[in-house]
Protein backbone atom coordinates (compact mmCIF):
# COMPACT_ATOMS: atom_id res chain seq x y z
CA UNK A 1 0.00 0.00 0.00
CA UNK A 2 1.03 3.60 -0.65
CA UNK A 3 -0.59 6.85 0.48
CA UNK A 4 -2.77 8.98 -1.75
CA UNK A 5 -4.04 12.48 -1.00
CA UNK A 6 -3.80 16.19 -1.83
CA UNK A 7 -6.47 15.77 -4.51
CA UNK A 8 -7.18 18.92 -6.49
CA UNK A 9 -9.42 19.76 -9.46
CA UNK A 10 -9.71 22.75 -11.76
CA UNK A 11 -12.80 22.42 -13.96
CA UNK A 12 -15.91 24.36 -15.00
CA UNK A 13 -17.31 23.35 -11.60
CA UNK A 14 -14.65 25.13 -9.59
CA UNK A 15 -11.11 26.24 -9.02
CA UNK A 16 -10.38 23.88 -6.14
CA UNK A 17 -11.31 20.45 -4.87
CA UNK A 18 -13.57 22.09 -2.31
CA UNK A 19 -15.53 24.04 -4.95
CA UNK A 20 -15.71 21.05 -7.27
CA UNK A 21 -16.97 18.70 -4.58
CA UNK A 22 -19.46 21.32 -3.42
CA UNK A 23 -20.84 21.61 -6.97
CA UNK A 24 -21.08 17.85 -7.31
CA UNK A 25 -22.85 17.61 -3.95
CA UNK A 26 -25.36 20.15 -5.25
CA UNK A 27 -25.76 17.95 -8.38
CA UNK A 28 -24.71 20.85 -10.57
CA UNK A 29 -23.27 20.09 -14.00
CA UNK A 30 -20.43 21.89 -15.76
CA UNK A 31 -22.04 21.03 -19.09
CA UNK A 32 -23.73 23.85 -20.99
CA UNK A 33 -24.74 24.60 -24.55
CA UNK A 34 -21.84 26.34 -26.31
CA UNK A 35 -22.90 28.25 -29.43
CA UNK A 36 -21.12 27.65 -32.76
CA UNK A 37 -18.78 25.05 -31.27
CA UNK A 38 -19.50 22.21 -33.68
CA UNK A 39 -18.05 21.40 -37.09
CA UNK A 40 -21.08 22.92 -38.82
CA UNK A 41 -21.12 25.87 -36.42
CA UNK A 42 -23.89 24.20 -34.46
CA UNK A 43 -24.26 24.60 -30.70
CA UNK A 44 -22.80 21.70 -28.70
CA UNK A 45 -23.11 20.68 -25.05
CA UNK A 46 -19.64 20.94 -23.52
CA UNK A 47 -18.15 21.18 -20.06
CA UNK A 48 -15.89 24.07 -20.92
CA UNK A 49 -13.89 26.40 -18.66
CA UNK A 50 -15.09 29.80 -19.84
CA UNK A 51 -12.61 32.09 -18.11
CA UNK A 52 -9.54 30.34 -19.49
CA UNK A 53 -7.64 32.18 -22.21
CA UNK A 54 -7.44 30.10 -25.35
CA UNK A 55 -3.68 30.14 -25.81
CA UNK A 56 -1.71 27.49 -23.92
CA UNK A 57 -4.73 26.25 -21.96
CA UNK A 58 -2.98 22.94 -21.31
CA UNK A 59 0.12 24.56 -19.83
CA UNK A 60 -1.91 27.07 -17.80
CA UNK A 61 -4.00 24.31 -16.25
CA UNK A 62 -0.98 22.16 -15.39
CA UNK A 63 0.82 25.04 -13.66
CA UNK A 64 -2.32 26.25 -11.91
CA UNK A 65 -3.18 22.80 -10.57
CA UNK A 66 0.35 21.98 -9.42
CA UNK A 67 0.45 25.34 -7.57
CA UNK A 68 -2.65 24.26 -5.66
CA UNK A 69 -1.12 20.86 -4.88
CA UNK A 70 1.98 22.60 -3.50
CA UNK A 71 -0.22 24.14 -0.79
CA UNK A 72 -1.57 20.77 0.27
CA UNK A 73 1.71 18.92 0.82
CA UNK A 74 5.13 19.79 2.18
CA UNK A 75 6.13 22.19 -0.64
CA UNK A 76 9.79 21.13 -0.48
CA UNK A 77 8.74 17.75 -1.90
CA UNK A 78 7.75 19.29 -5.23
CA UNK A 79 11.38 19.92 -6.17
CA UNK A 80 12.83 16.82 -4.52
CA UNK A 81 14.97 14.43 -6.57
CA UNK A 82 12.80 11.66 -5.17
CA UNK A 83 9.62 13.17 -6.63
CA UNK A 84 8.29 12.38 -10.11
CA UNK A 85 5.49 14.19 -11.92
CA UNK A 86 3.36 12.01 -14.20
CA UNK A 87 1.08 13.81 -16.66
CA UNK A 88 -1.87 11.84 -18.01
CA UNK A 89 -3.28 13.30 -21.20
CA UNK A 90 -4.50 12.20 -24.62
CA UNK A 91 -3.81 15.32 -26.69
CA UNK A 92 -1.84 17.69 -24.45
CA UNK A 93 -1.22 21.08 -26.02
CA UNK A 94 -2.11 19.93 -29.52
CA UNK A 95 -3.44 23.36 -30.48
CA UNK A 96 -0.06 24.91 -29.69
CA UNK A 97 2.16 22.44 -31.55
CA UNK A 98 0.58 19.47 -33.28
CA UNK A 99 3.99 17.89 -33.97
CA UNK A 100 5.13 18.10 -30.36
CA UNK A 101 2.03 18.31 -28.15
CA UNK A 102 3.74 17.79 -24.77
CA UNK A 103 7.35 18.97 -24.62
CA UNK A 104 6.79 22.77 -24.76
CA UNK A 105 4.26 22.73 -21.90
CA UNK A 106 6.30 20.30 -19.82
CA UNK A 107 9.45 22.37 -20.27
CA UNK A 108 7.54 25.36 -18.86
CA UNK A 109 6.20 23.25 -15.99
CA UNK A 110 9.70 22.03 -15.06
CA UNK A 111 11.05 25.58 -15.18
CA UNK A 112 8.17 27.15 -13.29
CA UNK A 113 8.50 24.82 -10.29
CA UNK A 114 12.14 23.79 -10.60
CA UNK A 115 11.22 20.11 -10.87
CA UNK A 116 14.19 17.80 -10.44
CA UNK A 117 12.99 15.08 -12.79
CA UNK A 118 11.65 15.13 -16.33
CA UNK A 119 7.87 14.50 -16.10
CA UNK A 120 6.56 11.29 -17.61
CA UNK A 121 3.57 11.50 -19.96
CA UNK A 122 1.14 8.59 -19.96
CA UNK A 123 -0.99 8.77 -23.10
CA UNK A 124 -3.23 5.77 -23.14
CA UNK A 125 -6.58 7.11 -24.34
CA UNK A 126 -9.29 7.36 -21.68
CA UNK A 127 -7.55 5.09 -19.16
CA UNK A 128 -4.53 7.44 -18.99
CA UNK A 129 -5.53 8.87 -15.60
CA UNK A 130 -6.15 5.56 -13.85
CA UNK A 131 -3.05 4.08 -15.48
CA UNK A 132 -0.96 7.05 -14.34
CA UNK A 133 -2.11 6.64 -10.72
CA UNK A 134 -1.33 2.92 -10.93
CA UNK A 135 2.08 3.79 -12.37
CA UNK A 136 2.66 6.21 -9.48
CA UNK A 137 1.93 3.44 -6.99
CA UNK A 138 4.23 1.07 -8.90
CA UNK A 139 7.15 3.54 -9.07
CA UNK A 140 6.95 4.07 -5.31
CA UNK A 141 6.60 0.41 -4.44
CA UNK A 142 9.65 -0.32 -6.61
CA UNK A 143 11.58 2.23 -4.53
CA UNK A 144 12.37 4.41 -7.55
CA UNK A 145 10.67 7.52 -6.11
CA UNK A 146 9.31 8.55 -2.72
CA UNK A 147 6.51 10.74 -4.08
CA UNK A 148 4.69 10.91 -7.40
CA UNK A 149 2.38 13.77 -8.36
CA UNK A 150 -0.14 12.73 -10.99
CA UNK A 151 -1.58 15.56 -13.11
CA UNK A 152 -4.42 14.59 -15.45
CA UNK A 153 -5.27 17.20 -18.05
CA UNK A 154 -7.03 17.51 -21.39
CA UNK A 155 -8.60 20.54 -23.03
CA UNK A 156 -11.42 20.84 -25.53
CA UNK A 157 -10.25 21.49 -29.09
CA UNK A 158 -11.84 21.54 -32.53
CA UNK A 159 -9.66 18.52 -33.25
CA UNK A 160 -11.19 16.32 -30.58
CA UNK A 161 -14.74 17.64 -30.87
CA UNK A 162 -14.88 17.29 -34.68
CA UNK A 163 -13.39 13.83 -34.32
CA UNK A 164 -16.07 12.63 -31.93
CA UNK A 165 -18.70 14.32 -34.13
CA UNK A 166 -17.36 12.37 -37.12
CA UNK A 167 -17.96 9.17 -35.12
CA UNK A 168 -21.53 10.32 -34.28
CA UNK A 169 -20.53 9.92 -30.63
CA UNK A 170 -21.55 13.38 -29.34
CA UNK A 171 -24.82 13.63 -27.45
CA UNK A 172 -27.37 16.25 -28.52
CA UNK A 173 -28.29 16.72 -24.84
CA UNK A 174 -26.01 16.79 -21.76
CA UNK A 175 -24.74 13.20 -21.55
CA UNK A 176 -26.80 10.67 -19.57
CA UNK A 177 -24.55 7.79 -18.51
CA UNK A 178 -26.16 4.34 -18.15
CA UNK A 179 -29.59 5.79 -18.95
CA UNK A 180 -32.00 4.20 -21.41
CA UNK A 181 -31.96 7.31 -23.60
CA UNK A 182 -28.21 7.91 -23.59
CA UNK A 183 -26.85 8.84 -26.99
CA UNK A 184 -23.20 9.71 -26.63
CA UNK A 185 -20.64 11.77 -24.79
CA UNK A 186 -20.42 15.40 -23.78
CA UNK A 187 -16.80 16.50 -24.02
CA UNK A 188 -15.24 18.23 -21.04
CA UNK A 189 -11.99 19.86 -20.04
CA UNK A 190 -10.14 20.18 -16.80
CA UNK A 191 -7.12 19.29 -14.78
CA UNK A 192 -6.87 17.23 -11.62
CA UNK A 193 -4.08 16.05 -9.37
CA UNK A 194 -3.42 13.45 -6.72
CA UNK A 195 -0.20 12.86 -4.82
CA UNK A 196 0.98 9.32 -4.15
CA UNK A 197 3.67 8.84 -1.52
CA UNK A 198 5.49 6.27 0.60
CA UNK A 199 4.86 8.40 3.69
CA UNK A 200 1.71 9.92 5.18
CA UNK A 201 3.68 12.82 6.67
CA UNK A 202 3.92 15.01 3.57
CA UNK A 203 0.15 15.53 3.43
CA UNK A 204 -1.54 18.44 5.21
CA UNK A 205 -4.80 16.44 5.31
CA UNK A 206 -4.94 12.79 6.18
CA UNK A 207 -4.25 10.63 3.10
CA UNK A 208 -6.01 7.45 2.03
CA UNK A 209 -4.44 4.08 1.22
CA UNK A 210 -3.78 3.27 -2.45
CA UNK A 211 -3.52 -0.36 -3.50
CA UNK A 212 -2.05 -1.94 -6.64
CA UNK A 213 -4.09 -1.56 -9.78
CA UNK A 214 -3.91 -3.30 -13.13
CA UNK A 215 -4.77 -2.83 -16.80
CA UNK A 216 -5.98 -5.31 -19.42
CA UNK A 217 -6.65 -5.10 -23.12
CA UNK A 218 -9.90 -6.38 -24.69
CA UNK A 219 -7.94 -7.74 -27.68
CA UNK A 220 -11.13 -7.16 -29.61
CA UNK A 221 -11.51 -3.81 -31.44
CA UNK A 222 -9.63 -0.51 -31.54
CA UNK A 223 -12.64 1.80 -31.29
CA UNK A 224 -15.48 -0.42 -30.06
CA UNK A 225 -15.72 -1.91 -26.58
CA UNK A 226 -15.77 -5.66 -26.12
CA UNK A 227 -19.26 -7.19 -26.17
CA UNK A 228 -18.34 -9.33 -23.18
CA UNK A 229 -16.49 -6.66 -21.19
CA UNK A 230 -13.49 -8.99 -21.24
CA UNK A 231 -10.69 -6.49 -20.59
CA UNK A 232 -12.57 -4.65 -17.84
CA UNK A 233 -13.58 -7.97 -16.27
CA UNK A 234 -9.98 -9.16 -16.31
CA UNK A 235 -8.56 -5.90 -14.99
CA UNK A 236 -10.95 -5.69 -12.01
CA UNK A 237 -10.54 -9.40 -11.24
CA UNK A 238 -6.75 -9.10 -11.26
CA UNK A 239 -6.77 -5.92 -9.16
CA UNK A 240 -8.90 -7.60 -6.49
CA UNK A 241 -6.82 -10.81 -6.59
CA UNK A 242 -3.57 -8.89 -6.37
CA UNK A 243 -4.79 -7.16 -3.19
CA UNK A 244 -6.46 -10.30 -1.81
CA UNK A 245 -9.77 -8.45 -1.70
CA UNK A 246 -13.18 -9.90 -2.49
CA UNK A 247 -15.84 -8.05 -4.50
CA UNK A 248 -17.94 -7.89 -1.32
CA UNK A 249 -15.38 -5.54 0.23
CA UNK A 250 -16.01 -2.86 -2.39
CA UNK A 251 -18.41 -0.22 -1.03
CA UNK A 252 -18.67 1.83 -4.19
CA UNK A 253 -17.60 1.74 -7.84
CA UNK A 254 -16.68 4.91 -9.69
CA UNK A 255 -17.37 3.69 -13.22
CA UNK A 256 -16.17 5.11 -16.53
CA UNK A 257 -19.74 5.56 -17.88
CA UNK A 258 -19.19 7.69 -20.97
CA UNK A 259 -22.87 7.54 -22.00
CA UNK A 260 -22.22 5.96 -25.38
CA UNK A 261 -24.59 3.07 -26.00
CA UNK A 262 -21.85 0.47 -26.33
CA UNK A 263 -19.47 1.59 -23.58
CA UNK A 264 -22.07 1.62 -20.81
CA UNK A 265 -23.50 -1.70 -21.97
CA UNK A 266 -20.00 -3.20 -21.91
CA UNK A 267 -19.42 -1.97 -18.35
CA UNK A 268 -22.75 -3.35 -17.16
CA UNK A 269 -21.88 -6.76 -18.62
CA UNK A 270 -18.43 -6.73 -17.03
CA UNK A 271 -19.71 -5.78 -13.55
CA UNK A 272 -22.48 -8.36 -13.83
CA UNK A 273 -19.88 -11.03 -14.70
CA UNK A 274 -17.88 -9.89 -11.67
CA UNK A 275 -20.93 -10.30 -9.37
CA UNK A 276 -20.66 -6.59 -8.63
CA UNK A 277 -23.98 -5.46 -10.09
CA UNK A 278 -25.44 -4.75 -6.65
CA UNK A 279 -22.62 -2.49 -5.47
CA UNK A 280 -23.49 1.25 -5.57
CA UNK A 281 -22.01 2.74 -8.72
CA UNK A 282 -22.00 6.08 -10.51
CA UNK A 283 -20.54 7.88 -13.47
CA UNK A 284 -19.34 11.45 -12.98
CA UNK A 285 -19.44 12.30 -16.71
CA UNK A 286 -22.79 14.06 -16.20
CA UNK A 287 -20.92 16.63 -14.06
CA UNK A 288 -17.57 17.03 -15.80
CA UNK A 289 -18.30 15.68 -19.28
CA UNK A 290 -15.73 13.30 -20.72
CA UNK A 291 -12.36 14.84 -19.94
CA UNK A 292 -10.43 12.00 -21.65
CA UNK A 293 -6.93 11.79 -20.17
CA UNK A 294 -7.98 13.84 -17.13
CA UNK A 295 -11.11 11.76 -16.42
CA UNK A 296 -9.44 9.04 -14.34
CA UNK A 297 -7.77 11.61 -12.08
CA UNK A 298 -10.82 13.89 -11.76
CA UNK A 299 -13.06 10.95 -10.93
CA UNK A 300 -10.57 9.44 -8.48
CA UNK A 301 -10.27 12.85 -6.76
CA UNK A 302 -14.07 13.16 -6.41
CA UNK A 303 -14.32 9.56 -5.20
CA UNK A 304 -11.67 10.34 -2.57
CA UNK A 305 -13.86 13.23 -1.41
CA UNK A 306 -16.88 10.91 -1.35
CA UNK A 307 -14.89 8.59 0.92
CA UNK A 308 -13.76 11.44 3.17
CA UNK A 309 -17.38 12.66 3.50
CA UNK A 310 -18.98 9.17 3.52
CA UNK A 311 -21.33 10.36 0.83
CA UNK A 312 -22.62 8.61 -2.27
CA UNK A 313 -23.09 11.09 -5.12
CA UNK A 314 -25.95 10.89 -7.57
CA UNK A 315 -25.11 9.62 -11.05
CA UNK A 316 -26.26 12.73 -12.90
CA UNK A 317 -28.37 12.14 -16.02
CA UNK A 318 -29.54 8.66 -15.10
CA UNK A 319 -33.23 7.90 -14.67
CA UNK A 320 -34.07 4.55 -16.27
CA UNK A 321 -32.14 1.30 -16.72
CA UNK A 322 -30.55 1.35 -20.13
CA UNK A 323 -28.26 -1.66 -20.10
CA UNK A 324 -29.04 -5.36 -20.57
CA UNK A 325 -27.68 -6.08 -17.08
CA UNK A 326 -28.98 -3.71 -14.44
CA UNK A 327 -26.59 -1.97 -12.07
CA UNK A 328 -27.10 -0.31 -8.70
CA UNK A 329 -26.81 3.23 -10.08
CA UNK A 330 -26.87 5.92 -7.41
CA UNK A 331 -30.02 7.96 -8.09
CA UNK A 332 -29.60 10.51 -5.31
CA UNK A 333 -26.96 11.70 -2.84
CA UNK A 334 -26.90 9.47 0.20
CA UNK A 335 -24.83 9.15 3.36
CA UNK A 336 -23.00 5.85 3.31
CA UNK A 337 -19.91 4.48 5.05
CA UNK A 338 -17.35 4.23 2.23
CA UNK A 339 -14.25 2.32 3.24
CA UNK A 340 -13.13 0.78 -0.04
CA UNK A 341 -13.65 2.26 -3.51
CA UNK A 342 -12.96 0.76 -6.94
CA UNK A 343 -12.29 3.15 -9.84
CA UNK A 344 -12.36 1.85 -13.40
CA UNK A 345 -11.73 3.24 -16.88
CA UNK A 346 -11.93 1.93 -20.43
CA UNK A 347 -10.85 3.47 -23.69
CA UNK A 348 -10.06 3.33 -27.38
CA UNK A 349 -7.42 0.80 -28.27
CA UNK A 350 -9.38 -1.74 -26.18
CA UNK A 351 -7.68 -0.64 -22.97
CA UNK A 352 -9.15 -0.99 -19.47
CA UNK A 353 -7.74 -0.18 -16.03
CA UNK A 354 -8.79 -0.31 -12.41
CA UNK A 355 -7.53 0.85 -9.05
CA UNK A 356 -8.60 0.49 -5.42
CA UNK A 357 -8.18 2.83 -2.47
CA UNK A 358 -9.19 2.58 1.14
CA UNK A 359 -9.67 4.61 4.26
CA UNK A 360 -6.73 4.27 6.60
Amino acid sequence: MTYIGAEEIVSPLGQSIRENFQSVCENRSGISLVPHAGFNQEAIHLSKITDLSSSNKFETLLIDTLSKVAKRIDPARITSKKTLVIVSSTKGGLDRNIKDPFAPSLTSLVKHFGLANEPLVVSNACISGVLAINAANNFIKAGLYDHVIVLGCDVISDFVLFGFQSLFAVSATPCTPFDLNRSGISLGEGCAAVVVSNTPEIFKNKPLGLYSGTSANDANHISGPSRTGEGLYRSVKRTLELNKMSFGEIDFISAHGTATVFNDEMEAIAFDRLNMADIPINSLKGYFGHTLGAAGVIETAISMQMMRHNMLIKSLGYSETGTSKSLNITTGNKSSELNTILKTASGFGGCNASLVFRKL
Binding site: I98, K99, F159, N217, R238, F348
Partner: protein
Protein backbone atom coordinates in the same frame (compact mmCIF):
# COMPACT_ATOMS: atom_id res chain seq x y z
CA UNK B 1 16.68 -11.59 -14.15
CA UNK B 2 15.39 -10.38 -17.53
CA UNK B 3 16.86 -10.76 -20.99
CA UNK B 4 16.49 -9.03 -24.35
CA UNK B 5 15.70 -12.03 -26.51
CA UNK B 6 14.96 -10.36 -29.84
CA UNK B 7 15.13 -6.93 -31.37
CA UNK B 8 14.06 -5.27 -34.56
CA UNK B 9 15.02 -1.92 -36.10
CA UNK B 10 13.31 -0.16 -38.95
CA UNK B 11 14.44 3.14 -40.43
CA UNK B 12 13.60 4.88 -43.72
CA UNK B 13 15.72 2.46 -45.77
CA UNK B 14 16.22 -0.82 -44.03
CA UNK B 15 14.80 -3.36 -41.65
CA UNK B 16 17.12 -5.20 -39.30
CA UNK B 17 16.20 -8.24 -37.19
CA UNK B 18 18.62 -9.24 -34.43
CA UNK B 19 21.43 -7.39 -36.19
CA UNK B 20 20.84 -8.87 -39.66
CA UNK B 21 19.52 -6.71 -42.47
CA UNK B 22 16.44 -8.59 -43.63
CA UNK B 23 14.97 -6.06 -46.05
CA UNK B 24 15.87 -2.84 -47.82
CA UNK B 25 13.41 -0.39 -49.25
CA UNK B 26 12.76 -0.84 -52.95
CA UNK B 27 12.45 2.75 -54.11
CA UNK B 28 11.01 1.63 -57.43
CA UNK B 29 8.13 -0.26 -55.90
CA UNK B 30 4.66 1.28 -55.99
CA UNK B 31 4.11 -0.04 -52.47
CA UNK B 32 4.90 1.97 -49.37
CA UNK B 33 7.93 0.81 -47.40
CA UNK B 34 5.78 -0.69 -44.65
CA UNK B 35 3.62 -2.44 -47.25
CA UNK B 36 6.77 -3.94 -48.73
CA UNK B 37 7.71 -5.24 -45.30
CA UNK B 38 4.19 -6.56 -44.72
CA UNK B 39 4.29 -8.46 -48.02
CA UNK B 40 7.67 -9.90 -47.02
CA UNK B 41 6.01 -11.39 -43.95
CA UNK B 42 3.56 -13.33 -46.17
CA UNK B 43 0.68 -12.92 -43.74
CA UNK B 44 -3.04 -12.88 -44.37
CA UNK B 45 -4.07 -9.94 -42.21
CA UNK B 46 -6.05 -7.43 -44.29
CA UNK B 47 -6.55 -5.18 -41.22
CA UNK B 48 -2.95 -4.11 -41.79
CA UNK B 49 -4.07 -1.95 -44.72
CA UNK B 50 -6.46 0.05 -42.53
CA UNK B 51 -3.80 0.90 -39.97
CA UNK B 52 -1.95 4.20 -39.79
CA UNK B 53 1.85 4.25 -39.97
CA UNK B 54 2.33 4.16 -36.21
CA UNK B 55 0.24 1.00 -35.92
CA UNK B 56 1.84 -0.53 -39.03
CA UNK B 57 5.27 0.09 -37.50
CA UNK B 58 4.35 -1.63 -34.24
CA UNK B 59 2.57 -4.43 -36.06
CA UNK B 60 5.53 -5.21 -38.33
CA UNK B 61 7.97 -4.96 -35.43
CA UNK B 62 5.92 -7.37 -33.32
CA UNK B 63 5.46 -9.84 -36.20
CA UNK B 64 9.20 -9.86 -36.89
CA UNK B 65 9.91 -10.48 -33.20
CA UNK B 66 7.49 -13.41 -33.33
CA UNK B 67 9.24 -14.70 -36.44
CA UNK B 68 12.51 -14.61 -34.56
CA UNK B 69 10.94 -16.14 -31.40
CA UNK B 70 8.09 -18.38 -32.57
CA UNK B 71 7.58 -19.72 -29.05
CA UNK B 72 6.32 -16.28 -27.97
CA UNK B 73 2.87 -17.25 -29.20
CA UNK B 74 2.74 -20.50 -27.22
CA UNK B 75 5.00 -20.17 -24.19
CA UNK B 76 2.85 -17.72 -22.24
CA UNK B 77 -0.70 -17.36 -21.00
CA UNK B 78 -2.77 -14.77 -22.86
CA UNK B 79 -2.31 -12.17 -20.08
CA UNK B 80 1.37 -12.78 -19.36
CA UNK B 81 2.76 -10.59 -22.14
CA UNK B 82 2.86 -6.86 -21.39
CA UNK B 83 3.12 -4.10 -23.98
CA UNK B 84 5.31 -1.09 -23.14
CA UNK B 85 5.74 1.44 -25.92
CA UNK B 86 6.79 5.06 -26.18
CA UNK B 87 7.80 7.78 -28.59
CA UNK B 88 8.30 11.52 -28.72
CA UNK B 89 5.60 12.64 -31.16
CA UNK B 90 2.59 10.72 -29.86
CA UNK B 91 0.26 10.16 -32.83
CA UNK B 92 1.30 13.43 -34.54
CA UNK B 93 1.79 11.81 -37.97
CA UNK B 94 -1.91 10.89 -38.12
CA UNK B 95 -3.03 13.94 -36.11
CA UNK B 96 -1.71 16.13 -38.94
CA UNK B 97 -3.65 14.10 -41.50
CA UNK B 98 -6.83 14.22 -39.43
CA UNK B 99 -6.49 17.98 -39.06
CA UNK B 100 -6.11 18.27 -42.85
CA UNK B 101 -9.33 16.28 -43.25
CA UNK B 102 -11.39 18.93 -41.46
CA UNK B 103 -9.39 22.07 -42.28
CA UNK B 104 -8.56 21.46 -45.96
CA UNK B 105 -11.03 18.80 -47.05
CA UNK B 106 -13.87 20.11 -44.84
CA UNK B 107 -14.79 16.58 -43.86
CA UNK B 108 -13.43 15.19 -40.56
CA UNK B 109 -12.40 11.62 -41.27
CA UNK B 110 -13.58 9.09 -38.65
CA UNK B 111 -11.19 6.45 -39.98
CA UNK B 112 -8.26 8.80 -39.34
CA UNK B 113 -9.63 10.06 -36.01
CA UNK B 114 -9.63 6.61 -34.41
CA UNK B 115 -5.85 6.48 -34.97
CA UNK B 116 -5.19 9.84 -33.28
CA UNK B 117 -4.21 8.19 -30.00
CA UNK B 118 -0.74 6.68 -29.65
CA UNK B 119 -1.92 3.62 -27.72
CA UNK B 120 -4.03 2.37 -30.64
CA UNK B 121 -0.96 0.43 -31.83
CA UNK B 122 -1.08 -1.51 -28.54
CA UNK B 123 -4.69 -2.39 -29.30
CA UNK B 124 -3.74 -3.56 -32.80
CA UNK B 125 -1.00 -5.82 -31.44
CA UNK B 126 -3.31 -7.12 -28.68
CA UNK B 127 -6.07 -7.87 -31.20
CA UNK B 128 -3.70 -9.60 -33.61
CA UNK B 129 -2.32 -11.89 -30.91
CA UNK B 130 -5.27 -12.12 -28.50
CA UNK B 131 -3.07 -10.75 -25.74
CA UNK B 132 -5.02 -9.44 -22.74
CA UNK B 133 -2.05 -8.26 -20.67
CA UNK B 134 -0.95 -4.89 -19.28
CA UNK B 135 -0.55 -1.96 -21.68
CA UNK B 136 1.25 1.35 -21.36
CA UNK B 137 2.10 4.02 -23.92
CA UNK B 138 4.28 6.91 -22.76
CA UNK B 139 5.44 10.05 -24.51
CA UNK B 140 9.06 10.94 -23.71
CA UNK B 141 11.30 13.80 -24.88
CA UNK B 142 13.73 11.23 -26.31
CA UNK B 143 14.51 7.51 -26.13
CA UNK B 144 15.09 6.89 -22.43
CA UNK B 145 16.56 3.48 -21.52
CA UNK B 146 15.67 4.05 -17.84
CA UNK B 147 11.98 4.22 -18.65
CA UNK B 148 12.01 0.80 -20.32
CA UNK B 149 14.27 -0.71 -17.65
CA UNK B 150 12.21 0.64 -14.77
CA UNK B 151 8.72 0.15 -16.06
CA UNK B 152 9.56 -3.17 -17.72
CA UNK B 153 10.79 -4.43 -14.36
CA UNK B 154 7.62 -3.11 -12.70
CA UNK B 155 5.47 -5.03 -15.21
CA UNK B 156 7.50 -8.19 -14.58
CA UNK B 157 7.13 -7.87 -10.80
CA UNK B 158 3.38 -7.39 -11.29
CA UNK B 159 3.13 -10.71 -13.10
CA UNK B 160 4.16 -10.33 -16.74
CA UNK B 161 6.51 -13.10 -17.93
CA UNK B 162 7.46 -11.20 -21.06
CA UNK B 163 7.17 -7.59 -22.14
CA UNK B 164 7.19 -6.48 -25.75
CA UNK B 165 8.72 -3.00 -25.76
CA UNK B 166 9.17 -0.45 -28.44
CA UNK B 167 10.16 3.03 -29.47
CA UNK B 168 8.02 4.11 -32.42
CA UNK B 169 9.30 7.36 -33.93
CA UNK B 170 6.98 8.09 -36.85
CA UNK B 171 6.51 11.62 -38.17
CA UNK B 172 6.20 12.99 -41.70
CA UNK B 173 8.39 10.37 -43.34
CA UNK B 174 10.84 9.99 -40.47
CA UNK B 175 11.01 6.38 -39.30
CA UNK B 176 12.86 5.44 -36.13
CA UNK B 177 11.47 2.13 -34.95
CA UNK B 178 13.03 -0.13 -32.33
CA UNK B 179 10.95 -3.04 -31.05
CA UNK B 180 12.40 -5.56 -28.63
CA UNK B 181 11.30 -8.44 -26.49
CA UNK B 182 12.21 -8.86 -22.85
CA UNK B 183 11.68 -12.22 -21.18
CA UNK B 184 12.47 -13.48 -17.71
CA UNK B 185 14.65 -16.50 -17.08
CA UNK B 186 15.56 -16.98 -20.70
CA UNK B 187 18.41 -19.32 -21.67
CA UNK B 188 19.36 -17.00 -24.50
CA UNK B 189 19.61 -13.28 -25.13
CA UNK B 190 21.42 -10.34 -23.58
CA UNK B 191 20.89 -9.47 -19.96
CA UNK B 192 18.58 -6.45 -19.71
CA UNK B 193 20.61 -3.57 -18.34
CA UNK B 194 21.25 0.01 -19.32
CA UNK B 195 24.42 -0.67 -21.26
CA UNK B 196 23.00 -3.57 -23.26
CA UNK B 197 19.80 -1.71 -24.00
CA UNK B 198 21.67 1.32 -25.33
CA UNK B 199 23.90 -0.92 -27.45
CA UNK B 200 20.88 -2.78 -28.75
CA UNK B 201 18.90 0.40 -29.46
CA UNK B 202 21.79 2.00 -31.32
CA UNK B 203 20.61 5.54 -30.56
Amino acid sequence: MSFITACCHINEESCVLNGDVIAQKNTESGDSWFKQLYKGLTLEYPKFYKMDMLSQAGFIGSELIKKSNPALSTRYQDDEIGLLFANQESSADTDIRFMESYVDKKSPSPSLFVYTLPNIVLGEIAIRNKWFGENMFAVLPKFAPEFFLQYGEIMMVAGAKAVLMGWLGILEGKIEVFVFLVEENSATGMQLNRENLITCAGF
